[in-house]
């Protein structure tokens, strides 16, 4: 890659298989490689079940890998132990998709946000701890009064703000945002996305943004990777991906997104690339291109030969046999 920026996260041929009994394996992530540079937002998109969440979590060492390598600022994430692991966990944080399931209903907001501070000994005195919690609450648009409440008293949007405050409490430098807005209403989504973009600028954060909403990813991400059935199909700078998608799957995916404008929509409808059938099962996948069964350009070769990511233009990688 031509950029001179320092890589924060380097993922090389990462594999994550889940054994299902003795005979079957679920290949959630299969040979995925990408690099995230300092200060950027890397968007990881795909349909449900394509392995994007598993990929995000494996990058943070929450799952043991099956193969390949993840390096965070040069260190092998899965080899970290003891103090180094603790430091890594302070440096990287995760924001979850479901703001209802990811916050403990028996803890007050200040305990939820303060837990990280306690674990990493970031507050010397109770006053300092309380002060930091209030500061975080204000950062995410809540206030002091909310600190002693329980999460059930908050709306979905407010809960997601608490989840973000918890992640920011330990002053991380790298965040994995796992569909942080897909459970929220349209008007609230915009609030949260704007807030995340502000934090990135002010706190110099690097994001891995996992989502299925391609339009939202376009807003927040500078580079985007498209996943299908555990494999990265295409990586490109955001503008370029949307203007010139090269992979047939990306093309179909983009054409399926409705645009809120009746006259544009009528035109687009005629050009829509219909995608027949559904995503095949990730259990015991056959060799060859994983998209072959739904691809309109699929040839015999696609069913045998597995395409690898290759650079077609600077920064634009595609895994497809079609030239």
């Amino acid at each position: 890659m031509s950029e001179k920026a320092t890589p924060v996260l380097e993922v090389r041929h990462l594999k994550k298989y889940f054994p299902l009994g003795r005979r079957h394996t679920l290949q959630a992530v299969d040979d995925v490689s990408f690099t995230i540079y300092e200060g950027e937002t890397f968007g990881l998109v795909g349909e449900s079940g394509c392995g994007k969440t598993t990929c995000g979590r494996t990058c943070l060492g929450m799952y043991e890998k099956t193969g390949g390598e993840v390096r965070y600022r040069g260190q092998d994430v899965h080899a970290l132990r003891g103090k180094a692991l603790k430091a890594f966990r302070k440096d990287t944080q995760l924001v979850f998709q479901d703001p209802y399931a990811s916050l403990d209903p028996r803890m007050t907001v200040s305990d939820i946000i303060g837990e990280g501070l306690d674990i990493h000994h970031l507050a010397a005195t109770p006053q300092e701890r309380a002060h930091r919690i209030y500061e975080l609450l204000e950062m995410v648009g809540l206030n002091e009064e909310h600190a002693n409440r329980f999460v059930h008293e908050f709306s979905g949007g407010q809960r997601q703000r608490i989840g973000i405050a918890r992640a920011l409490a330990v002053s991380p430098r790298f965040l994995v945002l796992d569909e942080p807005i897909s459970a929220l209403d349209v008007s609230i989504q915009a609030q949260v996305v704007n807030m995340l973009m502000d934090f990135q600028k002010n706190l110099k954060l690097t994001y891995l943004f996992v989502a299925h909403d391609l339009a939202m990813v376009k807003v927040i991400a500078s580079r985007v990777g498209v996943m299908y059935l555990g494999v990265l199909m295409e990586i490109a700078p955001s503008e370029e991906l949307y203007a010139q998608p090269l992979h047939p799957y990306t093309q179909a995916l983009l054409s399926a997104i409705p645009i809120p404008d009746p006259s544009v929509e009528k035109e687009r409808k005629a050009q829509r690339i219909p995608l027949e059938g559904e995503v095949q099962s990730p259990i015991d996948v056959a060799p060859g291109c994983r998209f072959a069964s739904r691809c309109r350009y699929a040839t015999e070769a696609c069913r045998h030969q597995t395409p690898v990511l290759e650079e077609r233009s600077p920064g634009h990688f595609v895994a497809c046999l079609k030239k």
């Binding site: 008007s187 915009a190 973009m197 376009k218 503008e239 997104i257 809120p260 404008d261 009746p262 559904e278």
Partner: protein
């Protein structure tokens, strides 16, 4: 609008729920009509009362805790739906009028084979024998695009994927060729590629049967190419209504304007901040006296917080409930329509 072509007419619908915290006024005076063969979109965010409106039309509101207020009226082909009882109600639900829910897994019975669930509906509403009904169930599954329907009728809902389950729901809904189909967020839980398939399916079945459709959603993109008319709901009331093109191209109510701007579009530049609506919708236990959107509206005036605005009519049966127009003698463009072009660069801030 000719009275004869109205299939459904909802007049001054008001629904409340009794809770420990007080009376939640979920729907506060909603009126609209649905013509034969027409597709209407009911758009709004969660908690705005769109699903309660749908359930009221299906007569699915449990009373108590729910309650229809004085003066609420729902007419289906001239008949009073809220007065239906016994056989007529069974006939109406599923026969005249069918509903597709958002969460197909929760809506289907997990202990029954899907074929049986379709057969059940057919037997309820026709004189077919069991054998004929079973054959029809297979045909229905084929019609909604489920491969190997002969094998699939004997499977349980958990053996189907999300998109396939939604197809089963649609098969059940269309089993008796309803004249009105209510689709309550039919694609919210699905992926975009599957979403396009399901919407196409609903559309083609509607064409075949000449049914009317009420499409309920929070996603403005979904309704853009399907809906003939759009009703925008906020805090239990309809704040704007009109032909699809009019609402998208000339939104009148500040809420509609904000909602359209808040949705990220693929044809927009990346990296820019999104337009966001500050604050949250009002609490419907104590709904505000004036305009419900007043607290979040960038054009809020003093009168907005005090009094409910009147409906202003624009051309082409386009209506909005907003003081920006109601105060003027002849309706004209709201300030945002004119300011928009001047502040193009700032519009996203």
């Amino acid at each position: 609008m000719e009275q004869t072509s109205d299939l459904l007419s909802v007049q001054n619908l008001r629904v409340s729920y009794r809770t420990y915290a007080g009376e939640v006024q979920a729907v506060r005076g909603v009126s609209f009509t649905v013509r034969k063969g027409e597709t209407i979109a009911l758009v709004g965010e969660s908690g705005c009362g769109k699903s309660v409106t749908a359930k009221s039309i299906m007569h699915l509101i449990k009373t108590p805790p729910g309650e229809f207020k004085e003066g609420s009226q729902i007419l289906f082909n001239g008949e009073d739906v809220l007065g239906f009882e016994g056989r007529r109600l069974t006939q109406y639900r599923g026969g005249d009028c069918a509903i597709v829910f958002q969460d197909a897994l929760a809506a289907l019975n997990p202990t029954m084979r899907v074929g049986q669930q379709i057969v059940e509906n057919i037997l309820h509403h026709s004189n077919l024998s069991k054998k004929e009904a079973k054959a029809q169930a297979v045909e229905l599954l084929r019609m909604v695009g489920i491969p190997q329907p002969e094998r699939r009728v004997r499977q349980y809902p958990h053996e189907f994927s999300g998109g396939m389950r939604q197809r089963v729901m649609i098969a059940i809904a269309f089993a008796c060729k309803p004249r009105l189909l209510i689709a309550d967020e039919p694609t919210t839980a699905l992926d975009v590629t599957i979403q396009a398939q399901i919407l196409n399916l609903i559309h083609s079945l509607q064409k075949q049967n000449g049914s009317s459709v009420i499409l309920i959603t929070h996603d403005l993109g979904v309704v853009a190419d399907l809906a003939d008319r759009i009703l925008v709901m906020y805090a239990g009331q309809i704040v704007e209504r009109g032909q699809s093109e009019d609402v998208f191209h000339h939104p009148r109510h500040p809420y509609t304007v904000a909602l359209l701007k808040a949705v990220p579009r693929l044809d927009q530049e990346s990296g820019k901040r999104l337009y966001s609506i500050q604050g949250t919708p009002p609490d419907l236990i104590h709904p505000p006296e004036g305009c419900p959107f007043a607290s979040r509206c960038p054009y809020c005036m003093e009168i907005c917080t005090r009094e409910k605005p009147d409906v202003t009519q624009f051309e082409n049966a386009h209506e909005a409930q907003c003081w920006l127009y109601a105060l003027r003698e002849t309706p004209e463009d709201a300030p945002f329509a004119r300011r928009e072009s001047a502040e193009e660069g700032e519009a996203h801030v």
